[in-house]
Symmetry: C2
Subunit: 177 residues, 2 copies
DNA sequence: ACGAATTATTTTAAGCTTAAAATATCTCGC
DNA sequence: GCGAGATATTTTAAGCTTAAAATAATTCGT
């Protein structure tokens, strides 16, 4: 690195630190890689679920939530846990009931709600799919050793915390301040 | 930990190493965190693009591709680069043309294709959005230092390679073998 | 130059997704 | 017990997404 390059680097760095808005090139590259990596895996899971079990990922996710709730769950609870809109859940549940994988029951105490649970067929179907799904994920991360996996967990945790902080700050701007 | 538990742990571990299919618990937790982290960021970007610029993420992504191609691009090229179906691109382009952000031109040499490019309005609109977008991403990763970012890049690279390898292996199973 | 195979794009049908409006029910203070 | 506001769900309208079928044009071997 030449003297001039060093000087330039220092100048740019000073500018960035001072004014706090560089070009965010590294961050953009990192975000792109994170997105590509996730999309690659998700697309493969979708594809395999469709080809081998004729099921969509949202339906699989919904069944996974119900598997953990033997006594059933309300649509609102499903909506919150899956982090999707209530209207979305209504449609998914309708189609799964149509397929005989779910049952709707009137909620005992609240006539606005209904409880949803897996049918026997639903349980059986999910168990098979979850087995395969677990194996796929295992294969996808097969080349990472324990150290890599732990480090990746840690860094993603830091990232999530950083994003949440940025979201809170952004929210304050959106309000009064 | 009792003697029995230790023995059991060793037995399970031996079984896992021997047959290569444990419960994949760590991998599933890692995948879940990766997915959550990406979805968190993506949802926030979608939300901000919609609120502040009244634009969807797919439209923003399409415009970003065209920004890098001053002479325009065919729909097929857009489809490949965005990694979405051709039919999807047709619809997106139609709506963006409707909004006056894109122009379609007959391709000079191939009457099957059309070239798409940003209009002046499209360029201007994208420049504003890209600036804000870059700042958002910068903020999201603000709490990560250079070492963390480099390490995350490296680990995501390893992950992508691992997934691609698993996909190739899975493909072989799907064919003749 | 003919025709088969390939390539580029569009259309179609189905499902996912959301925000916003509409319904229905519940809760709580009075 | 009444009524206002909160809560649970459904409906609606619009857009995104895909796979598969349909069109249209090109390429290439002969």
């Amino acid at each position: 690195m030449s003297e001039r390059d060093v000087a330039e680097a220092i100048a740019i760095d000073a500018e960035t630190r001072t004014h706090g808005h560089g070009d965010h090139k590294d961050e953009l590259r990192l975000w792109l890689r994170l997105l590509t990596c996730t999309n690659l895996i998700e697309a493969e899971i979708r594809s395999r679920l469709r080809e081998r079990f004729n099921v969509t990922l949202p339906r699989f996710d919904l069944m996974a939530q119900l598997e953990k709730a033997p006594d059933g769950m309300t649509l609102g609870e499903l909506s919150r846990r899956m982090m999707v809109s209530a209207g979305n859940v209504t449609g998914l549940v309708d189609r799964l009931v149509q397929d005989g994988l779910l049952e709707r029951h009137a909620a005992p105490a609240d006539r606005r709600s209904s409880l949803v649970k897996l049918t026997a067929k639903g349980h059986e179907s999910f168990a098979t799919m979850a087995d395969a799904h677990g194996d796929w994920i295992g294969d996808f991360f097969d080349q990472l050793n324990d150290g890599d996996m732990g480090e990746l967990m840690r860094l993603l945790g830091r990232t999530k915390a950083s994003v949440r902080r940025a979201m809170e700050q952004g929210e304050e701007q959106g309000n009064k301040e």
